[in-house]
C-alpha cells in the first residue's frame, strides 16, 4: 500500500531494485540473499493441470483399493534373465544393483548441518525414518546424533569434501555427488566462519571460525570421464553396496549433461531447478541463472528415453516443490521422486523471511546460536514434517486414484495425464504435453 509520504512507486524501478542499488553503491560488493529465487517468473506448475477419469476407465477408490506408491531409486536392468529348475522353480540370473526403497516418492533434499541447526536435522531425520523415505545430509558431514537414522540418510560428497571419510560414506544409505545447486548454478558455496561453531567444526572436520569454502568445481572433475572416476571411486570405497547419485543444477543443456551422467555409472541424477532454496547465494545467480524444474525434468526424461538409457538412472527432481500437485505433475513429466527442502522447513516453522545467512533464525532452524536452536523442539518438528509427508502421500494416492492409476509406476512420465494451460507451442513441445482441450 502506498502512503502519502512514500516515494512514488514505479513499475520498473521498484523498491527492492532501488534498495539493491543503494547497497551496492555504498559497498561495491556482491549482493547475497537467502532462500530461493525471488524474481517474478511465471510458475509452470500453475500452467499444468492434471487429469481425472469420468465414465470410461473408472477412477479407483484409494480407501478400498491398494495404491502403490513405493518407489525404487537406482539402476534397473534393461531385461531380466531367469533359469528354470527341475521343479519348474525359476530363479533370477540377472544381477540387480542396489536401489533405495522409498515408501513414498517424496524425500527431503540436502541442507547441511551448519546451514541449518542440529535440531532441524534431527527432526527431519526422525520424520523420514518413520515415513520410510530419505533425507540428505548436505555437505557438512554426519553428526553423531544422526547415526540412529543413518539408514535413511543420503550422504553428500561435494567439492569442499567436508566431513568425508570412510566412516561417513559407509554410514549413508546412498552417496550423492553434488556438482551444482539450483540456487547458484556454476559457483561454489561457503559457510561463513560465524556459523562454524565447535560442533559444526567437528562434523565438517575444519577449524572453528574458519570459512568452509566449497570451490565451484570438484578439482578432480573436469569432464564426464572424471565424473565417472569419482562415481566409481565411491562405489569401490564402499564395496559396491550403495547407490551413487549425481546432483546438478537445471541449466540450458541439462538433458545432454544428464545423458552423460547416466553413462557415468551413477544410479540417479538429481536435477535442482532454478527455484531451489539456499542458505546464501548471490542474488544475481539465485534469481537469474538456470531453468525451472518442470522444463528440465521433461527434457531429461525425453532425452534419456530417446537414447534408450532411461533405466540406467532414476530422476530425482527438486527446486520449488510446494504442494502434492507439484509432485504429481513432476512425476508425470518424468521424475521418479522429488526432494523437498523449503517445504520441510516451513513445516517446522520457517516463515520464508529469506535471511538464513544471518544465523539469527527466530525459529531455531537456520542458526547455530544455542538459545535460538533450543526454540525448535525436534520431536514436535519431526511430527510436523511427518504429517506433511503423510498428507502429501495421501493426496498423491487420491490424485492417482482419480486418474484411474493404482501404481506410481504408471504415473511416471505419463505426459498424457497433463494438459498445458495457456502455454505456448514451444513450451508444450518441450514439456511434451497437449494443450487444454486437445
Amino acid at each position: 500500500m502506498e502512503r502519502p509520504c512514500d516515494y512514488r512507486s514505479h513499475p520498473v524501478w521498484t523498491t527492492p531494485i532501488k534498495e539493491n542499488i543503494f547497497k551496492q553503491a555504498e559497498s561495491g560488493k556482491i549482493l547475497f540473499g537467502g532462500m530461493g529465487n525471488a524474481a517474478q517468473y511465471p510458475i509452470l506448475f500453475d500452467h499444468l493441470v492434471l487429469d481425472a477419469c469420468q465414465v470410461t476407465n473408472p477412477s479407483i477408490d484409494p480407501l478400498r483399493e491398494p495404491m502403490e506408491l513405493r518407489t525404487y531409486i537406482g539402476k534397473k536392468p534393461k531385461q531380466l534373465e531367469f533359469t528354470q529348475g527341475a521343479n519348474n522353480d525359476t530363479s533370477l540370473v540377472t544381477k540387480l544393483t542396489p536401489n533405495l526403497q522409498l515408501e513414498t516418492p517424496i524425500m527431503i533434499g540436502h541442507m547441511s548441518y551448519g546451514a541449518i541447526s542440529l535440531n532441524a536435522h534431527k527432526a527431519m531425520a526422525k520424520a523420514v525414518s518413520e515415513v520410510g523415505t530419505f533425507m540428505g545430509t548436505g555437505e557438512g558431514g554426519l553428526h553423531e546424533a544422526l547415526y540412529p537414522y543413518q539408514n535413511n540418510m543420503i550422504v553428500q560428497v561435494a567439492s569442499g569434501r567436508f566431513g568425508e571419510d570412510v566412516n561417513y560414506l559407509e554410514r549413508g544409505a546412498a552417496i550423492e555427488i553434488k556438482i551444482g545447486q539450483g540456487a547458484k548454478p556454476g559457483i561454489g558455496g561457503h559457510l561463513p566462519g560465524e556459523k562454524v561453531c565447535f560442533d559444526v567444526s567437528c562434523t565438517r572436520m575444519i577449524p572453528e571460525g574458519s570459512d568452509a569454502i566449497s570451490p565451484a568445481p570438484h578439482h578432480d572433475i573436469y569432464s564426464i570421464e572424471d565424473l565417472k572416476q569419482l562415481v566409481l571411486s565411491l562405489k569401490e570405497a564402499t564395496e559396491w553396496k550403495k547407490p551413487v547419485f549425481v546432483k546438478i543444477a537445471a541449466v540450458h543443456n541439462v538433458a545432454a549433461i544428464a545423458a552423460g551422467i547416466a553413462r557415468s555409472g551413477a544410479d540417479a541424477v538429481v536435477i535442482d531447478g532454478f527455484r531451489g532454496g539456499t542458505g546464501a547465494s548471490p542474488l544475481v545467480f539465485r534469481d537469474h541463472v538456470g531453468i525451472p524444474i518442470e522444463a528440465a525434468v521433461a527434457a531429461v526424461d525425453t532425452k534419456l528415453r530417446k537414447q534408450g538409457i532411461r533405466n540406467e538412472v532414476s530422476i530425482i527432481a527438486s527446486g520449488g516443490i510446494r504442494q502434492s500437485a507439484d509432485i504429481a505433475k513432476t512425476i508425470c513429466l518424468g521424475a521418479d521422486a522429488v526432494y523437498i527442502g523449503t517445504a520441510a522447513l516451513i513445516a517446522m516453522g520457517c516463515r520464508v523471511c529469506g535471511t538464513c545467512y544471518r544465523g539469527l533464525c527466530t525459529w531455531g532452524i537456520a542458526t547455530q546460536r544455542p538459545d535460538l536452536v533450543a526454540r525448535l523442539n525436534p520431536d514436535e518438528a519431526a511430527a510436523n514434517v511427518k504429517n506433511l509427508l503423510d498428507a502429501w502421500t495421501l493426496e498423491l494416492a487420491e490424485l492417482m486414484g482419480a486418474a484411474g492409476i493404482n501404481s506410481i509406476e504408471s504415473l511416471r512420465g505419463n505426459r498424457d495425464r497433463l494438459r498445458g494451460y495457456m502455454l505456448d507451442q514451444t513450451l508444450l513441445d518441450v514439456l511434451d504435453v497437449k494443450s487444454i482441450g486437445a
Binding site: N20, K23, Q24, E26, S27, K29, I30, L31, F32, G33, G34, S159, G160, R161, F162, E164, D165, V166, L169, H190, P192, G193, S201, C202, M205, I206, P207, G209, S210, D211, A212, I213, P215, H219, D220, Q229, L232, S233, E236, A237, T238, E239, W240, P282, L283, G354, T355, Y357, R358
Partner: protein
C-alpha cells in the same frame, strides 16, 4: 607378520581391491603387488595398518579415502594419489600427476620427483589431523590452491632458480607451504602471503626432511641447510569482504 604377493597382471581394480581387503581381514601385514599397470583406486577406502608395495605404475586415485595403510610405489603414480585420504602414508619413488593429495584430511604423501597441477588442493586439517605433502621435485601451477589446512613442503632438488608457476596457494585460508629457495612474487595467488622461513619454522619441518631423506636415501644436510620460503594465508576468511546482504 605375514606377507603375500598378488600378481595384478590383467586384473581389474575391483577384484584386485577385493583380494587386498580380504588379505587385510586375514591379518596380512605386508602385500606386494606385482605387474601393476594403471589400475585405479588401489586401496580405495582401505582401513588398517597394512603395508602395500606396488611394482609398476598405479592409476588415478591411489589410496583414496584410505585410513591407515602405508603404500610404497616403486614407480610413478597417476593423478590424485591420496585423494581425500584420512590416515596413512604414500611414498612414491618417482613422479605423480595432477591433484596429488587433493582434499587430504590426514596422513602423509612423499613424492620423490615432480607433481602435476593443483597439488595439495583444498587440503584441510582438524585437531590432531594434519595432512603433509612432501615433494622432492617441483610442482606445476596452483599448488596448494584453496588450502584449508595441512602442510606442503617442496624441495625442488634439481632447481635453484626462483619458483615460477602461477596461482600458488590462491584462495588459501589455512595451513602452510614451504618451498626451498625463493618464489617469484607474481606466483602468489589471491589470499596468500610469503615470508622467508625463520630458523624455528624450519626446525618444525625438520622431521619431514629427515623422513623424506630416509625414504629416498638422500643426504639431508643440503635440505636442512637451505633457506625456505613460507607461504601462509592472509586470513582464514578470504571471501568475507566480498559480499553485502540483500
Amino acid at each position: 607378520m605375514s606377507h603375500i604377493t598378488i600378481d595384478a597382471a590383467g586384473v581389474h581394480y575391483t577384484p584386485l581391491n577385493k583380494q587386498i581387503r580380504q588379505a587385510v581381514r586375514d591379518g596380512v601385514s605386508e602385500i606386494t603387488l606385482q605387474n601393476i599397470m594403471g589400475q585405479r583406486f588401489i586401496a580405495d577406502g582401505l582401513t588398517g595398518k597394512v603395508k602395500i608395495v606396488i611394482h609398476g605404475v598405479p592409476g588415478g586415485d591411489l589410496g583414496m579415502f584410505m585410513k591407515g595403510p602405508t603404500i610404497e610405489v616403486l614407480g610413478n603414480a597417476d593423478h590424485a594419489p591420496g585423494n581425500t585420504m584420512d590416515e596413512g602414508t604414500i611414498i612414491i619413488h618417482g613422479a605423480s600427476g595432477d591433484a596429488t593429495g587433493h582434499s587430504m584430511r590426514g596422513g602423509k604423501i612423499f613424492v620423490r620427483d615432480d607433481i602435476g597441477y593443483r597439488g595439495g588442493i583444498h587440503m584441510k586439517q582438524f585437531q590432531g589431523k594434519r595432512p603433509v605433502l612432501v615433494i622432492g621435485g617441483t610442482a606445476k601451477a596452483f599448488l596448494g590452491e584453496y588450502m584449508a589446512g595441512g602442510l606442503v613442503i617442496m624441495f625442488r632438488m634439481q632447481d635453484e632458480a626462483s619458483y615460477a608457476e602461477m596461482g600458488l596457494a590462491s584462495g588459501i585460508h589455512g595451513g602452510e607451504i614451504f618451498i626451498r629457495g625463493t618464489v617469484e612474487d607474481w606466483t602468489l595467488g589471491i589470499g596468500s602471503t610469503a615470508t622467508t622461513a625463520t630458523k624455528e619454522e624450519i626446525e618444525k619441518i625438520q622431521p619431514y626432511i629427515n623422513e623424506f631423506s630416509e625414504y629416498y636415501g638422500i643426504d639431508s644436510q643440503k635440505l636442512l641447510n637451505s633457506s625456505y620460503t613460507r607461504i601462509t594465508p592472509v586470513s582464514n576468511r578470504p571471501f568475507a569482504g566480498k559480499y553485502t546482504w540483500e
